[in-house]
Amino acid sequence: MFLNPWSLALTLCSLVVLVLGTVAAKTAVRVLRFWEPGSDSNQQIRLENEIWLSSTLVAYGLGFQIITLILFVLAADEFCQVIVGAMCATGALLANPYGMPALLVKLFGVFFYGFWILLHQLDIRSEHYPLVRIKYLALLLLLPLLVLDVTLQTLYIAGIKPDIITSCCAVVFGESTGGSTNLIVGYSQQGLLLAFAGSIVGLVIVGWGLLRRWQAWLAGLYAAGWLWFFVLSLVVITTVVSSYVYAMPYHKCPFCILKPEYYYFGFALYGTLVPATFFGISAPIAGLVRGRAGLGGVVARYQRLAVQLSLILLVIFSGLSFYHYLKYLISGGEG
């Protein structure tokens, strides 16, 4: 179903990002082949200029990818109106096997572009550009991800037939026993909430420890903790938080909270979770390049900042995710 404004906008954005990515990759290949830090030849000066181009292009690409990610979910929500049996974005995304993979690739893509930009920012802080080769190797690795993203999205849009019957979220995330189509089922709400709260406390303690004294193993634990917490949060948002937001016990959908009916609450939720996870994971990752010439101080400063930011965002995120739940417990329901 390409003849629809949402499909067209998504395709257009993807093509634009692909073009930007290809131009950046061209620079990457030249840098990998001809980069000579000590030289002052014309070519080296040109390459040093081109570094700016590629980093700007990737930064634009990141911004555009974030927009396409939001657009993709909103488009799925729009598509559900024409797919028989789908009642919200979940149903639309499950209408064919490419929907969910496309969404996940987009989501993880945002993290990878973010890591690349971090690498670039660290690199240009040092006079020697110590990370140039790693950076451009990584850029070349990002390109297949981008192609995969565009391919999955195109396959998804092409595969949407306006009359396929799909299961809607009430079935998909519902609590019916023995249903094989359920994505998320079988966890007790109490258990999940306990794990969620426990993880928050754990992360705060580890983060606090890191701020007091930086230790490599603790940093690794922090990154792993964030990865775990990210996945756990997505599950908790889907199965617990969302139904308190909707005030409907059987409506468990991670996408409808993005809609105006719920005051765009989802944007606040995901808008804190994703950056928090990014900072949480990126701080230890930045530690991997600490030993490079001229980066020691820069990395240490970034790590402190990233851990602080991730902790602040974590606090906001937990406040947001518990808000409806506590409101329900205290006031005894809506209204």
């Binding site: 179903m1 390409f2 003849l3 629809n4 404004p5 949402w6 499909s7 067209l8 906008a9 998504l10 257009l12 954005c13 634009v16 073009v19 930007l20 131009v23 200029n49 700016w52 181009l53 700007t56 292009l57 634009y60 555009f64 927009i67 396409t68 939001i70 657009l71 909103l74 929500d77 729009e78 109106q81 024409v82 797919i83 028989v84 240009i124 306006p162 009359d163 809609k259 105006p260 765009y264």
Partner: protein, 400 residues
């Protein structure tokens, strides 16, 4: 640190604003063309949105299931007796026969929609009075014949200002007289503008449909979640009958509007492409003064990234202003001028056009869609020229 960065960005923003002002003719021309492109795309998007919203609103009151008899792939009259066969299906509130057709007026060269109903039998029949500007619908037990309730355009077309009787031709060209007993209010124009509602028997007489036949049967279902099941049961009981459910019709409207809007957007993509080329061209043509300016900035200690930031802010300001102008103009176009530029594309080709009051609801998602369509290509088109201008070597620009 953060404060320092913020101040730096603010200063760069100020510089970008003053730079735009210095080249105000160039900026204004880009702004106007960009605004026009956004206006076209946004109007299209808003009309589609408003029309599909309207269709959704209107369809809420249609019967849950409509039955039509098909023969050789075409619709034909359905026997009233079919309704009795549905008696065994639980969940059906009522089956109401209906005659529904077009009457072609050879004088006005326009089609009127004629609907013959047993008003008293309809579940909400008693509430139909609320749609009338004057007159009343017949009450249950009122067997009056020869009456008609008409829409606004019909009053004008038949020139019924001073009188309340009119006649329509039967297929054999004999005349059938009607007395107007009500007129639909203008608020329901989208449905009733070209509509003549009459008694079922009168409609049968007008179209010369044999007794015991109607054009379709409306099935009212008590519980909306049972619509699909009941529709399935009906199609099992009555093979050869087309069963249309309300959700299906709703989805079809969505697809049609989406399709038309997509088609329109594709046509407008050429305008967008032309604009992107213009933007690229404007951004890459560097005059000697601009080269000098950048060279001086560099000598003063600006870095490549600072100049890139200036260019970025310039693009953001231009596209932000263009969006504001374009979307406001589009909103005015849709709300106050009923989208007169695009209405023929999105609506039918009927001669009697209803007077539409479209009210687009602009959710954040729709704004994002319009932004993705317009601003993203613009930003992408200006980034490479921006980099070219940012990497002008200081010595060559000043020396030459």
């Amino acid at each position: 640190m953060a404060r320092h960065n913020l101040e730096k960005q603010l200063n760069i923003l100020e510089y970008a604003l003053s730079s735009l002002w210095r080249h105000r003719l160039k900026s204004l021309s880009v702004l106007l063309v960009f605004g026009a492109v956004i206006f076209l795309l946004a109007s299209f998007q808003m009309v589609t949105q408003a029309l599909s919203d309207k269709a959704k609103q209107v369809l809420v009151h249609t019967p849950e299931i409509t039955l039509q008899k098909m023969s050789a792939g075409r619709q034909e009259a359905i026997p009233l007796a079919y309704g009795d066969k549905l008696a065994g299906i639980f969940g059906i509130r009522r089956v109401v026969p209906r005659i529904w057709g077009y009457y072609f007026d050879e004088v006005r060269l326009a089609n009127y929609t004629v609907m013959g109903l047993e008003v008293a039998e309809m579940p909400e029949g008693a509430r139909l009075d609320t749609t009338l500007a004057k007159g009343t619908m017949p009450r249950p037990g009122d067997d009056a014949q020869g009456w008609a309730v008409i829409g606004y355009s019909i009053t004008n077309a038949l020139d019924l200002a001073g009188r309340d009787t009119f006649s329509l031709f039967r297929p054999d060209l004999s005349l059938k007289p009607f007395v107007v007993r009500g007129e639909f209010s203008r608020d329901t124009d989208i449905l009733t503008n070209d509509l003549i509602v009459m008694n079922l028997a009168d409609a049968r007489d007008l179209f010369a449909i044999p007794a015991g036949l109607v054009t379709d049967l409306c099935v009212y279902v008590a519980n909306p979640t049972e619509i699909e099941t009941i529709a399935k049961k009906i199609s099992e009981t009555l093979p050869g009958v087309r069963v249309l459910t309300r959700p299906q019709i709703q989805k079809t409207y969505q697809v049609v509007f989406g399709w038309r809007s997509g088609f329109g957007s594709i046509c407008l993509l050429s305008a967008l492409a032309a604009f992107v080329i213009l933007a690229w061209d404007k951004a890459s043509g560097l005059s000697p003064e601009e080269r000098r300016e950048i060279a001086i900035l560099k000598i003063l200690g600006w870095e490549t990234s600072d100049i890139l930031a200036v260019r970025f802010w310039e693009s953001v300001i231009v596209s932000g202003l263009a969006c504001l102008v374009g979307m406001t103009a589009a909103y005015i176009h849709v709300v106050y001028y009923a989208a007169s530029l695009f209405r023929p594309v999105l609506m039918g080709w009927s001669v009697l056009r209803p007077n539409l009051h479209l009210l687009p609801r602009l959710a954040a998602g729709d704004i994002l869609l319009i932004l993705a369509f317009t601003v993203l290509p613009y930003l992408a088109a200006t980034v490479i020229p921006a980099w070219r201008s940012a990497t002008v070597p200081a010595d060559s620009a000043l020396g030459g």
